[in-house]
């Protein structure tokens, strides 16, 4: 029986780990991730989840414990935020280099110093180079669905990469919303038992990850890039399969909303994508041809989708919930990079909004959309990067 629940994205992440029949969870608490691991602890202790929860003593150890468990042949899960994710940075590299299909929920939170517990996307986007597949969710149901899809994708032999499913702290993590939990037997049909490209085995002993000289290191890295390219192809296939079985979909790598005849397309990630839809509706009522597109998968970056989206659009405006100091928002950079080879490119404006959890509402998006439309008419963008609602 499909079950309807009203629960937070964090709890739903716990439900997803349980539904995926994860066998080892190793995690360390950090606001606003804590309720993910508390839910899992409840499941494990009540016997509802047949798994082991290793209460590690740091996030670095959490990721390494997952690596040890995955290398020993079981499905693993962890969750973290901000400082915790940063602490496990070298372990993220180790996991992808080891081609282990670990799935992690990242409850997005701003990086310190200074301390902030509120959401922005700096934490996970700072890890974009680590070889992890990255999904960005806009609602609680998507968090549940993407964790299951992530396991299916990552354990495909053409992929064998780890994945992070990102959700903004407090906006999703602690907000109660309705969600559908499919029947376990149907989930088991979708997600077969754990598979991995290698495993520690006394009958076939080998050393994993000893020194690789310049003779072969580059080829191993190329294989990771190839796996990312494969993932780009396979993500929509997994999503279609999931959609057929369970009835929900999100429109692929980039979720488009009213973009077909748009003069201006707003490019977003995470929950700002939902505010953008509300803004688009309002603007359309005023006769303005605006659409929005939510980048759901940041790694591998959906270059082809962006190029396709840009056709016949006069202006792109990206809304980045983070900044790469010394340059601009990551989404802005990568969208521009995707379009560089095209002969005809839209005008481009990059907006920085919502850092440290500053609220980004439909009104905020409406305002910056109107500014962008003004520049579209002028044929010239006033500023390549603009910080929204910045105090003087």
């Amino acid at each position: 029986m499909t079950r309807m629940v009203v629960d937070t994205a964090n709890h739903l992440a716990g439900y997803a780990a349980k539904a995926a029949r994860v066998k080892v969870v190793a995690a360390y608490p950090i606001t606003p991730q804590t309720t993910v691991v508390e839910k899992i602890a409840d499941f494990v202790e009540s016997g509802e989840m047949d798994a082991e929860y290793i209460r590690v003593e740091s996030e670095h150890s959490a990721m390494v414990a997952c690596i040890g468990a995955a290398a020993t042949g079981v499905r693993t899960f962890t969750a973290t935020s901000a400082q915790g994710l940063a602490l496990m940075h070298e372990a993220l590299h180790w996991a992808s280099g080891s081609r282990l299909p670990i799935v992690m929920a990242v409850v997005n939170r701003a990086m310190g110093a200074p301390w902030s517990i509120w959401p922005d996307l700096s934490d996970s986007l700072s890890q974009r180079d680590t070889g992890w597949i990255q999904f960005y969710c806009a609602d609680n149901q998507e968090v549940f669905d993407m964790i299951l899809q992530a396991y299916k994708l990552c354990e495909d032999e053409r992929v064998f990469l780890p994945a992070m499913v990102c959700l903004e702290g407090f906006i999703l993590s602690h907000t109660y919303a309705p969600a559908k939990l499919p029947e376990q037997s149907k989930i088991d049909e979708f997600l077969p038992p754990y598979k991995c490209g290698w495993m520690l085995d006394v009958d076939r002993p080998y050393s994993h990850a000893n020194l690789v000289s310049p003779e072969w290191y580059m080829e191993f890295r190329f294989m990771i890039q190839e796996a990312m390219e494969n993932a780009k192809r396979l993500i929509p296939q997994v999503a279609n399969d999931y959609g057929k079985r369970f009835g929900h979909g999100y429109g692929g790598l980039v979720e488009r909303y009213k973009c077909d005849d748009a003069d201006l397309v707003l490019l977003t990630m995470g929950t700002i994508g939902s505010d953008a839809k509300l803004a688009v509706d309002k603007l359309r009522q005023e006769g303005l041809k605006v659409g929005s597109a939510r980048v759901r998968v940041y790694r591998p970056f959906p270059v082809e989708e962006i190029v396709d989206l840009a056709k016949n659009v006069r202006m792109f405006a990206t809304i980045d919930r983070h900044i790469s100091f010394g340059m601009e928002g990551f989404l802005a950079s990568e969208v521009k990079a995707s379009l560089f080879g095209q002969k005809d490119r839209p005008l481009f404006a990059g907006f920085i909004a919502g850092l440290g959890g500053r609220d980004v509402t439909a009104e905020t998006v409406e305002k910056l959309a109107k500014r962008s439309l003004k520049w579209t008419d002028l044929g010239k963008v006033e500023k390549e990067t603009e910080w929204v609602d910045l105090r003087e």
Binding site: E52, E57, S58, H60, S61, G68, A69, V202
Partner: protein, 298 residues
């Protein structure tokens, strides 16, 4: 007590590996496998053993070996042990095998966490008293007065008492061992294998490259370390302290060889002054008072 000839003939550290000539840790690895056989998962952080394996696609090890990040042997082992339990596999011994840094410095947190969680594995620190892999820089286990590349005039601080730190975790088995006493080490490893919970063995493994002595004297240096009382062979089983031979006879100071004999044979101690030697002798006496008290209480 096993005898030399009862040690199995099979080798799981294969010849032609990358260790320095006269490497104490290499002898220790062979002894580890003689104690346990091949149903072992080895978890190895960055350390000399990382290099001893040799380069891809070759390894000198005949058992499954997971190389892992420097600070996280304990964490990786926790993951491996949990996975084996979930797979209902119970005949594989998980061994964390780490050097100074991976145990007492950068790796101490993960080890402490694993011990506090009562992770069911054997952790062996092969102590060559410096960071060997990176070229002999000082570690928390480098003894007072020793030359290393980062303490060229001699280390000014004392050696961290790692076995006692582990004993404070109240784990069921803590032991010290030395490569020069191979049967004692083998017995301790075998005993550890049959105990549930975290087992810690601190193994002094002399290093000619770091200690600056002729490569042939590795075993001799290990023996002297114990005979002078500078390194003590003991076990703490469920909190009960016991001195092992020959350390049990060295409570009597007159039976301990003079520490100068140990220092004279190693270039790393050439900076020691007379004052240093007296200071060290006093520490040895103080430490032995403690050992005597513990042994008497038991």
């Amino acid at each position: 007590m096993v005898t030399m000839k009862e040690l199995p003939r099979e080798e799981y550290l294969l010849k032609g590996h990358a260790a320095c000539a006269g490497c104490g840790p290499a002898v220790s690895l062979r002894l580890l496998f003689k104690a346990l056989g091949s149903k072992v998962f080895l978890v190895v952080p960055a350390c000399c053993t990382t290099v001893i394996q040799g380069p891809y696609p070759f390894t000198s090890f005949g058992v499954p070996l997971q190389n892992i990040l420097f600070e996280s042997t304990g964490a990786a082992a926790s993951g491996v042990v949990a996975a084996l339990r979930q797979r209902r596999v119970d005949d594989i011994t998980v061994v964390g095998w780490a050097g100074d840094g991976g145990t007492a410095d950068i790796g101490i947190q993960a080890l402490s966490g694993a011990a506090e969680r009562e992770t069911n594995f054997i952790y062996i620190c092969y102590d060559n008293e410096a960071y060997g892999n990176t070229g002999m820089q000082r570690s928390g286990l480098t003894p007072y007065g020793a030359w290393t590349t980062t303490t060229p005039s001699g280390k000014k601080e004392r050696k961290k008492d790692m076995p006692m730190i582990m004993a404070a975790h109240k784990i069921p088995y803590v032991a010290t061992a030395c490569t020069a006493f191979p049967l004692d080490f083998v017995n301790k490893v075998r005993k550890a294998k049959d105990i549930q919970g975290t087992k810690y063995i601190h193994l002094l493994a002399p290093c000619p490259t770091g200690w600056r002595y002729d490569t042939g004297k590795t075993i001799e240096m290990g023996r002297l370390a114990v005979q002078t009382g500078l390194f003590v062979l003991y076990e703490i089983e469920n909190g009960k302290f016991k001195l092992n031979p020959p350390s049990d006879r060295l409570v009597d100071k007159s039976k301990r060889k003079p520490v100068k004999e140990y220092f004279a044979g190693q270039g790393r101690f050439r900076n020691l002054t007379e004052d240093d030697v007296v200071r060290i002798e006093n520490w040895v006496d103080e430490d032995w008072n403690e050992y005597r008290k513990r042994a008497e209480c038991a």
